[in-house]
């Protein structure tokens, strides 16, 4: 079977037309085609390059590379303290990192530049593709190439049926198998699997939706924390927060109006076995109402189950104990009584903190003074353990250790101060009879008297718990989720659906017997393609049964090459 060069060229052309528009994937053009024109020429060249697959691929690679430093260098968005620690430890490196934006990689200029370019490239790619796809849907599958034998899957037989009958049967059969089919000339052309292209477009559009909603959420987000002792109330307004971070376009009236009271915090822990003390459940029981005059409703917030109110979500993020403490002056007058939230130091909730009596206290000399107490608290004290550290996170045997200071707390200076630390620069410690620092271990109900009739501090029998809440508002997350789910479905469709074409040609041969030829072409070399062609051919064969070979009925079909034909 020798062919001339022109024959081959013709064949390529035939196949080219049949294989055209099997996908809307962009065609690759050589990169070297640099124009020698003016600004517009350059812009066009730039646009062509940006929307080419090669550049999109490079941008994707760059994006994954650019994401790496953010996972290795501490990020200010995740943990500001770690960043400060890093800056302390690396005096020369830190300023360079800071200049490069390596402490906030994911909002840095260069990271943004990569993904914005990527998404422009994406849009520049999908808009023409969508347009082309619409054109393909409105058009018809291309007609049969001249030589069907050149296609990846091919079969043929001779039949007693008329060519028209065969074509009609093929058309009906292919349409029944949900091919888009039409008869053109002596052949039927059919195509199936358009959902692949649609899925591909949906996937890429969904990515854009995802990115836009993510960016939207970043700009309008707010993220604040609030520590509440059982019985405290909170209403969602800026001044109520302990700490608040927000996006650049966030305004305080964007906050969803609601309020809630913490009624009770419950923590349960494994009580025995090797995992004694491991937390089992944390939950906060709250009363909340939406809007200014909403009805109060009772609910619980757990670690994995935040409370959703509009765009706001309320998370339970931390917990601890707040022993109730009473401070009296020398005359027995109560100058302070409150639950003091203490910060946990370990898994068994050994906690510390301070009690600050800012006003109302007069010392035995009748002078106004401030008092400060350092408090160390363990929910479960075990004298046998030989340590002050708590032995269990629940309140089994609470003990409060205090020591006391008097003087100036320094809170009136206007400098912000931690409520959990005591600035002792203007404070004097109370001493016991031996001149040692005055300190005492208090059981619930116990008191410690301050020397020389300076008053007393009492650890009341009531130990409250506190819960830390994080209130997050991030609009657009529903859209992000929708985009993400659409992306999965689009992706699955574009990867699992095969787009393929089938042609059936039926013509009267030279001896007057009808010759049927069938061929299939797919975008990828799928094993399913010949299988499907075989199935269709089988069914069609039943409707157009084979005719005996005129020359020699015993010889096998000349088109069938024995298996392993490649091996000589």
């Amino acid at each position: 079977m020798s062919k001339t060069e022109t024959d081959k060229g013709q064949e390529q052309e035939d196949l080219g037309a049949a294989g055209s528009q099997l996908s809307t994937a962009p065609r690759e053009e050589p990169l070297s085609a640099v124009p020698a024109m003016g600004v517009i020429g350059w812009l066009r060249w730039f646009w062509r390059q940006l929307t080419s697959m090669r550049i999109a691929l490079l941008l994707l690679l760059m994006l994954s590379l650019a994401a790496i430093p953010g996972s290795l260098i501490p990020q200010s968005g995740a943990d500001i303290n770690k960043v400060a620690g890093f800056q302390q430890a690396h005096k020369t490196l830190a300023p360079i990192y800071d200049k490069l934006g390596l402490f906030h990689v994911y909002s840095s200029v260069w990271f943004s530049a990569i993904y914005i370019l990527l998404f422009i490239s994406l849009i520049g790619c999908i808009v023409p593709r969508a347009w082309q796809f619409v054109g393909q849907l409105r058009g018809r599958p291309p007609g049969a190439p001249k030589r069907l034998t050149r296609l990846p899957a091919y079969t043929t037989w001779r039949t007693t049926a008329e060519p028209e009958e065969v074509r009609e049967a093929a058309l009906k059969l292919l349409r029944r198998r949900r091919f888009r089919a039409h008869a053109e000339g002596d052949a039927v052309a059919a195509e199936k699997g358009y959902l692949r292209e649609l899925g591909n477009l949906i996937f890429h559009v969904a990515l854009i939706v995802l990115l836009v909603s993510f960016a939207w959420g970043q700009m309008y987000k707010s993220d604040g924390t609030k520590l509440m002792v059982e019985g405290d109330g909170f209403s969602n307004a800026l001044p109520m927060y302990d700490d608040m971070k927000s996006g650049s376009l966030f305004r305080s009236d964007d906050l969803v109006p609601f309020s809630f009271d913490l009624k009770k915090f419950t923590g349960t822990y494994e009580s025995s076995g090797p995992n004694r003390g491991t937390p089992r459940t944390f939950q906060a029981t709250i009363d909340y109402s939406v809007g200014a005059y909403g009805k109060r409703k009772k609910t619980t917030i757990k670690v994995n189950e935040p409370l959703h109110i509009g765009d706001s979500k309320v998370y339970l993020v931390s917990h601890g104990y707040a022993p109730v403490v009473t401070v009296r002056d020398g005359k027995g007058r109560i100058v302070y009584r409150d639950a003091v939230p203490l910060l946990p130091l370990d898994g068994n909730v050994t906690s510390n903190g301070v009690v600050k009596v800012m006003d109302g206290y007069k010392n035995p000399q009748g002078k106004s003074e401030q008092l400060g107490f350092q408090a160390f608290f363990v929910p479960t004290f075990d004298p046998k353990a030989g340590t002050m550290m708590s032995q269990f996170p629940a309140l089994l045997n609470p003990l409060l250790a205090v020591n006391a200071y008097h003087g100036d707390l320094g809170v009136d200076a206007g400098i912000p101060q931690s409520v959990y630390q005591l600035d002792k620069s203007h404070m004097k410690a109370f001493k016991d009879g031996k001149g040692q620092l005055l300190k005492k271990l208090l059981k619930p109900g116990d008191s410690m008297a301050l020397p020389n009739g300076a008053g007393s501090i009492t650890f009341e029998k009531d130990v409250k718990q506190w819960a830390g809440f994080e209130i997050v508002q991030e609009p657009g997350s529903v859209w992000a989720l929708t985009g993400a789910l659409a992306a999965i479905f689009g992706l699955a469709a574009s990867l699992f659906i095969q787009r393929r074409r089938v042609w059936v040609r039926a013509v009267r041969g030279a001896d007057g017997v009808t010759v049927v030829e069938m061929a299939g072409l797919g975008r990828s070399e799928s094993a399913k393609l010949p299988e499907e062609l075989g199935d269709i051919a089988g069914i069609l064969y039943d409707q157009a049964p084979g005719a005996p070979d005129p020359d020699d009925p015993a010889t096998p079909d000349p088109h069938v090459v024995p298996a392993e034909g490649a091996e000589k």
Partner: protein, 365 residues
């Protein structure tokens, strides 16, 4: 019975189950070692046969004599003989090389050892599966709370996947040796370095998302892993075929081993199918993680190291899938991308847990 006594008893059973699980994992490792030796035997006996299909198809003199590159596929249905046969032709420009016969190389004894190896793999898989189940029962939750548990589950799933592909009559027996080798290495690492006593989960992990997110992550990892093995073999086989085509005679060991593997095109296609099939599931894993993060940490995306690296892995695999559809990137370049992508996955699992601290740190070393 008092409550304390009941808990004590429950604890005792748990510890019993945990030690049983350890015994089962060690037993599985023993059987894997035997399977490994049987695979080795298969390869050694297979080397006696002198198959040279690839060489025949690619060396200059035989290429001239070779007929048109066509093979015949049987049409479906029972009346095969009466129905027209479909002729399949390789795409223009593609190298048409027949697949190798497999590790046994057509040698009868080799084939026997191969079958023994597969049987032993099945046995090891069942023992290991029992070990994983016992571990789950001892901790009364899904057995993927820390790296040790993740490792033993991950290798079980990878071997299970291999066995399923075998059961589906896919041509994957050549994977056996490479798979058992790495499974043994991973399990060795798991029982020595990564071992953690059975433990309960912190409240942050009490969520049904644990089952969805982590199980899909493990499954995706196992599939990516099989894809990566096929990609490495593709790279070897491809350069072997390139050498033959260029008229260079490769070394005798390379010839012996690579002649028995499937054709580079088949390996490439297998790797692509495996990776492409699981890519949407990997996308889902990340999204499920984001939904869980939204419930547990307050934000659905935190750029936590684990999240970042799943994203990097995702982008790398996306690159690979795009590259494979792009002229000029097909073949070796795309395969390198697939290897990079798998390296990202590996780093995400081992590297991030060991070197980086983040919100996933409770996954434990």
């Amino acid at each position: 019975m008092t409550l304390a006594a009941a808990t004590e008893l429950a604890t005792a059973t748990n510890e019993h189950l945990a030690s049983m699980s350890n015994t089962l994992i060690y037993s599985a490792m023993t059987v894997y070692t035997l399977a490994f030796l049987a695979y080795i035997a298969e390869w050694i006996f297979g080397s006696r046969s002198k198959v040279a299909r690839t060489a025949n198809a690619l060396t200059a003199e035989s290429r001239q004599q070779a007929g048109p590159a066509v093979t015949v596929k049987k049409a479906g249905g029972t009346a095969v003989l009466e129905r027209p046969k479909v002729v399949v032709r390789a795409a223009a420009g593609a190298r048409d090389v027949p697949d190798g016969p497999g590790a046994h190389g057509g040698d009868v004894q080799g084939d026997m050892y191969g079958r023994i190896a597969v049987s032993l793999t099945v046995l090891a898989f069942l023992v290991q599966l029992a070990g994983v189940v016992a571990r789950a029962a001892s901790v009364q939750r899904a057995p993927w709370g820390n790296m040790y548990e993740f490792s033993i589950t991950f290798t079980t799933v990878a071997v299970g996947l291999y066995l399923v592909l075998l059961a589906l009559k896919k041509n994957v027996r050549w994977l056996g040796l490479f798979l058992t080798t790495t499974v043994l290495l991973l399990l060795g690492l798991a029982v020595t370095v990564l071992y953690t006593a059975s433990d309960q989960l912190v409240p942050a992990l009490h969520s049904y998302w644990l089952y969805i997110h982590v199980s899909t992550a493990i499954f995706c990892g196992a599939v990516f892993y099989v894809g990566a093995v096929a990609t490495i073999l593709y790279l070897f086989k491809d350069s072997y075929e390139n050498k033959l085509e260029a008229g260079i005679k490769p070394g005798s060991f390379a010839t012996s081993v690579l002649e028995r593997l499937p054709a580079s095109a088949s390996l490439d296609k297998f790797a692509y199918r495996v990776n492409a099939a699981v890519f949407p599931l990997w996308t889902f894993t990340i999204i499920a993680g984001a939904i869980w993060a939204g419930d547990a940490w307050g934000r659905y995306w935190n750029w936590d190291p684990k999240e970042t690296w799943s994203f990097i892995t995702w982008v790398a695999y996306a690159c690979y899938l795009h590259a494979r559809a792009t002229a000029g990137w097909k073949g070796r370049k795309a395969a390198y991308l697939a290897m990079i992508a798998f390296a990202c996955w590996l780093f995400n699992f081992y590297g991030v847990n060991i070197f980086v601290t983040g919100k996933h740190s409770y996954a434990g070393v």
